[in-house]
């Protein structure tokens, strides 16, 4: 029996994709996720000058200088000084209930592709929930570090970590550089746009996306019944199609604010751009002739945010220092997934903190540190909560010698 599954690999293999700590560890190092886990935590704080600057930085300056000098500027507005959108997802709050996935699917007219297509890896969800299992790390004394990767036995009592993952709207988007037709570009508000009309379906962007969040419409999922996906388009008129009445009903399901994509087009999370634009237009009407075009915090609610029962998702304007998302970005638990790629993702995550109760009968020594953290430690031979994990931060509290070794202890 084949099972249609969107994630058949259950381990992070010690990579810091989801970053976790126990409450005691978190109290000692509130910023453990960004400052002591992952390759990016080893970056020097004062990077030498870059080869080139992001247009958001270099051209804003140029345009300003020209504006001051001439009163006008040839340079178009590259970066909006009103809105810069960003999102945070609190892994502490997320329970992996999938409500956001369903909400996204219905909001954005995402086709349902059926079991057969999912088995071929052609699922279309713009938002997915990554699920990772981890177990207490046991490495026999003297064995190779890589050994834990080939663990074949199913752990008796694994820990589960979940992480919603959609397009993170990287400012330095790797998908954009490889598009031969500029079908995916940035706008002035930090959104990674997907221009469906320009897309010719090379799928280079999907291949180059480090987060693997781009989805390709292989067939006319929106037009054909799932059992005639493979029929020749030349014969389309002669083949059985959706009965007209069924098709009319299917149309009613669509969100009229979102374009229904045809086949051969790449698609991905848009940060619910239809809601952003709606809010902006409403605000402009309200503002009238005045300058108050900035959408107030909390007005733009993405579909996933709307659906999240745990309120794990925060979305808003990064430029407003008082917005919920700005505050969330300043949270010490905030970190960027694959931050070492210098993608400058707009969606960042808040690390997860576990709080196992030592009074419980099933409590064991191995629970002293989250299993994923143990895995990370064992694979990378660095203790995120030890002395070596920290760079540039002056923590007065370094008296945690016992804590330094607890991950090791816990594993034996």
């Amino acid at each position: 029996m084949e099972i249609a599954c969107t994630q058949d690999h259950g381990s992070m293999e010690g990579r810091p994709i989801i970053r976790e700590a126990n409450i005691q560890q978190f109290r000692k190092h509130p910023d453990f996720a960004a400052s002591s886990m992952g390759i990016d935590s080893h970056f020097p704080h004062d990077l030498p000058s870059k080869v080139y600057n992001h247009p958001y930085e270099s051209y804003e300056k140029k345009a300003e200088e020209k504006q001051k000098k001439d009163g006008t500027t040839l340079y178009p507005i590259i970066k909006s000084s009103v809105h810069q959108w960003a999102m945070t997802i609190d892994l502490n709050a997320c329970t992996g209930c999938n409500a956001c996935v369903v909400s996204c699917q219905s909001e954005n007219n995402i086709p349902i592709v059926g079991k057969d297509q999912v088995r071929r890896g052609r699922e279309m969800h713009w938002l997915r929930i990554d699920r990772y299992f981890s177990a207490p790390v046991t490495v026999p004394e003297g064995s190779d570090k890589g050994k834990i990767r080939s663990e074949k036995n199913l752990p008796a009592d694994p820990q589960v970590s979940v992480q919603p993952m959609a397009c993170v709207h990287c400012e330095n988007a790797p998908c954009e550089s490889v598009c031969p037709v500029n079908a995916t570009v940035h706008d002035e508000e930090g959104l990674n746009l997907m221009v469906y009309n320009r897309c010719v379906g090379t799928r280079y962007c999907s291949n180059n996306c480090p987060y693997k969040v781009r989805r390709f419409n292989f067939f006319d999922y929106n037009l054909r019944p799932l059992d005639s996906l493979y029929d020749s388009p030349v014969m389309l008129d002669k083949l059985p199609r959706r009965p007209t009445d069924e098709f009319e009903i299917a149309k009613l399901v669509r969100n009229p604010d979102v374009s229904v994509r045809m086949r051969g087009v790449m698609e991905k999370c848009t940060y619910c751009i239809q809601r952003i634009e709606g809010a902006k237009i409403a605000q402009k009407i309200k503002a009238g002739a005045s300058d108050a075009v900035e959408v107030p915090d909390g007005v733009v609610r993405t579909a996933c945010l709307d659906a999240c029962p745990a309120e794990a998702i925060t979305f808003g304007n990064k430029l407003d220092p008082n917005s919920a998302v700005s505050k969330s970005i300043k949270n010490p638990r905030n970190y960027s997934v694959l931050g070492y790629l210098e993608t400058r993702a707009r969606t960042t995550y808040l690390a997860r903190v576990r709080n196992p109760n030592p009074e419980m009968p099933d409590y064991q020594e191995s629970l002293k540190s989250p299993y994923t953290t143990q895995e990370y430690f064992k694979t990378n031979a660095e203790d995120p909560f030890g002395h070596h994990g920290h760079h540039g931060d002056n923590h007065s509290d370094h008296g945690h010698g016992a804590d330094d070794n607890h991950a090791k202890e816990g594993s034996h």
Binding site: Y59, A173, V185, H186
Partner: protein, 180 residues
């Protein structure tokens, strides 16, 4: 003669051997004629020197074409990406000579080739609908076994009798007038 009303195109001297033609060419070169040419059934080594021909100027046209192509390619991309329709792609600068190089390179080759072709045509005064030599009956042997030297009447130094005397001193088989 009925041909009086026609314009003289030039004087055509006919030779039996390439050596005779070569000596004649050297003499004409030394007398400073500029609009003249030799015709032979096969290439004659050393004839360039004997005629005093310098390197072809077509290379300059090639260079100008290539230069224009390279900078129009770069300039086009610079203008379009920087001013006309700037797009933020992967956080990269709007213009860089590196990514626009292939286009500039292709245009270098294209306009370089155009420059070469048009420059060659210009220097050879092509296209030309008709060359009076082609209707001259004895000139047909230029593709067979005879060697010819033509001094055009449009040459500044051309003088019907003087030039004819000069040609006669090179001992041609015969000298004929070519009419337009």
């Amino acid at each position: 003669m009925a041909q009086d009303s026609q314009k003289l195109h030039g004087l055509l001297a006919q030779f039996d051997t390439p050596a005779d033609l070569m000596h004649a060419a050297e003499m004409i070169r030394d007398h400073g004629y500029s609009r003249w040419d030799v015709f032979s059934p096969f290439p004659i080594h050393g004839m360039d020197d004997a005629m005093g021909l310098k390197n072809s100027k077509v290379g300059w046209f090639t260079f100008i074409g290539g230069f224009t192509g390279f900078f129009s390619g770069m300039g086009m991309i610079w203008y379009m990406n920087e001013f006309n329709y700037p797009l933020i792609v992967g956080g990269k600068p709007f213009f860089s000579p590196i990514f626009s190089f292939p286009v500039a390179y292709e245009l270098t080759i294209l306009l370089g080739a155009f420059g070469t072709l048009l420059g060659m045509a210009f220097l050879n005064r092509l296209p030309r609908l008709h060359n009076p030599l082609l209707k001259h009956s004895s000139f047909k042997r230029a593709t067979d076994d005879q060697f010819f030297l033509l001094i055009e009447a449009s040459d500044a130094k051309f003088d019907s009798s003087v030039t004819r005397q000069l040609l006669e001193s090179t001992h041609p088989v015969k000298i004929e007038e070519v009419q337009e």
